[in-house]
Amino acid sequence: MNRIKQKLQEDNPPAGRAGKILSIYFSAGYPKLNDTVKIIQDLEKNGVDLIEIGLPFSDPLADGPTIQESSTAALKNGMNTALLFEQLKDIRKSVSIPLILMGYFNPVLQYGVEEFCAKCEEIGIDGLILPDLPLDVYTEEYEPIFKKHGLINVFLITPQTSEQRIKAIDDASEGFIYMVSSASTTGAKQGFGPEQSDYFERIAKMGLKNPQIVGFGISNAETFQQATKKAKGAIIGSAFIKHLTANGVDNIGDFVKQIR
């Protein structure tokens, strides 16, 4: 079974976690080119449930300055798709939690969608998040390829996504739905207001078949708790990257402990 599905269906989460998933995003090749594997191992060791490995892109439309800068730095460090696959080739010898690659569609297209998916399967990647690969293009052109290689494609919804479209996305999804917390690019903000609570509530009431994991704007224990009151889990990206910028790959455990 796909590790993402398995993780989300766990009946007995470790004590004190109350079933809420903590997912961490970071840009591969940042802060240093060869930090990727150590970051993944440390995140798992410190109880993170799911990891999103960012494949850096030169023009990341959906990202705020923190992730954009880490992507730019990773590219300058020499990160590229082939190298990331090379770094990850033995990752399953030491890490068992679900791993997702997150990036933009153009680098995947250039690598070759089929080749990319085959490589993911070979390594043991469980899913992909490609924000600019549209739902209809995915279902018409790429779904059979993703499925053949056991990859879950994670779709995003936002507060502006219509109910009808959320249902279509739920139908096309497996694993979980990435629920973008507010109309924004990535980057931590100060807490969530009543508008977000209403949105979290509204989605929870829809009774979707896939659980939702909230992303964008989660930076600490407080926002993590707010975001996961109604949702299955939450994703932290920019705040973790800021931690890496300040501390390098040391003290990853300290960061995770601050969250829950």
Partner: protein, 394 residues
């Protein structure tokens, strides 16, 4: 018959579409569902054409360039978009889009600009309508297009520098898209070229199609025929070219010539010649030809002309290139600058450096004496005076 126009999903052959993050989906979808209907509304048409006539100054002349024709031994007509209010064709589109934004109930406008022509045209229509306007512009372009920055400020727009990447048009576009993601409800993004996710390439091409519509009528009057032998235009993103080609796309006897910026030479590493250097890829929400690394990272382009300094082309142009319908030629900075100076001396018209690339075609490609060649003179060169001064040590 094969059509070179967008299909209903915004594809030109294999190019086009809407490769956008979910955060942009509602905005683009709202526009997609409404743009054709709004453009057909009589009140929209009437206001659009009235403003084009009384405010922009259309129709722009189709001028027979006597001395230029003599020199190159062919019949050259210049479509004088430089005589539009604000000095370039860009205003045709911004008038259309500001009316569209009003119909959609938007009260905040964002735009990106390279040379500043689109920024000025957007700031102008926002002033005209009393709507807030924010223009994103690469830091480098802000430096090389100072007069246009001043114009935008005088017109009440806020000019926000894009500081990432190459600090030019591509990065300004990224910043504008991010602004739109953060302001999805009240904001309309006026894209200035035939790029971006569907329906922008088609919508912008339709607004610019007034250019070829006028060429047809004017040529009928001057030559007794609607169709020239060739239509020539410069292509960065490609909006002036899309407008000049529009009514000729499906008329195979009219040759379509697209002129791209070769910069310091196609293979110099400092170029913006997308058709020569690009591969199929995705930029700013559209599948098109794109300059990129083998790994799919978008390459930083270069051209002396800020308006052509873009690593992609609109999907219509990608299709014209890939299908062979269009002839694509790249012109270096040097050839373009000399063609600009030549037009100034021969015809008393100082062209924008973007247009100078199109004009350089005559040194690089032979035409027959009785060929009728229409060059779209997309903009005037006032904004580029400092570049001309520096280049020619005037």
């Amino acid at each position: 018959m094969k059509s070179y126009h967008a299909d209903e999903r915004g594809y030109y052959g294999e190019f086009g579409g809407a490769f956008i993050p979910e955060m942009l989906y509602p905005n683009c979808e709202e526009l997609r569902q409404n743009y054709l209907g709004i453009m057909e509304e009589p009140s929209f048409k009437e206001e659009f054409h009235q403003l084009l006539k009384d405010y922009v100054g259309r129709p722009t002349p189709l001028y027979f360039a006597n001395r230029l024709s003599e020199k190159y031994n062919t019949k050259i007509y210049l479509k004088r978009e430089d005589l539009c209010h604000t000095g370039a064709h860009k205003v045709n589109n911004t008038i259309g889009q500001i009316l569209m934004a009003k119909k959609l109930g938007k009260n905040r406008i964002i735009a990106e600009t390279g040379a500043g022509q689109h920024g000025v045209a957007t700031a102008t229509v926002c002033a005209l309508m009393g709507i807030e306007c924010i223009v994103y512009m690469g830091e480098i372009d802000i430096a090389r297009q100072a007069p246009n920055v001043a114009r935008m400020k005088m017109l009440g727009a806020e000019v926000r520098p894009a500081k990432s990447g190459s600090k030019t048009l591509k990065d300004a576009t990224n910043e504008a898209i991010r602004d739109w993601i953060n302001n999805p409800v009240d904001t309309h993004y006026i894209i200035g070229s035939v790029v971006g996710p569907h329906p922008y390439p088609d919508m912008v091409a339709r607004f610019q199609s007034v250019i070829s519509e006028e060429i047809k009528n004017q040529l009928q009057e001057k030559e007794g025929r609607e169709n020239p032998d060739y239509v020539v235009a410069c292509v960065g993103g490609g909006s002036n070219a899309a407008g000049a080609y529009y009514h000729y796309l499906d008329v195979p006897e009219v040759g379509i010539i697209a002129v791209e910026a070769a910069g310091k030479g196609i293979h110099s590493g400092e170029s913006a010649a997308t058709s020569a250097l690009g591969k199929v890829g995705i930029i700013h929400g559209s599948k098109t030809l794109l300059m990129q690394t083998q790994d799919g990272q978008i390459t930083e382009p270069y051209s002396i002309s800020a308006g052509l300094d873009y690593p992609g082309v609109g999907p219509m142009h990608a299709h014209l290139y890939a299908s062979g319908r269009g002839e694509f030629i790249s012109i270096t900075d040097d050839d373009a600058m000399h063609a600009g100076l030549e037009l100034s001396k021969l015809e008393g018209i100082i062209p924008a450096i973007e247009t100078s690339h199109a004009l350089a075609i005559f040194e690089n490609r032979k035409f027959k004496p009785d060929d009728v060649v229409v060059v779209n003179l997309s903009g005037r060169g006032d904004k580029d005076l400092q570049n001309y001064i520096d280049y020619f040590k005037l």
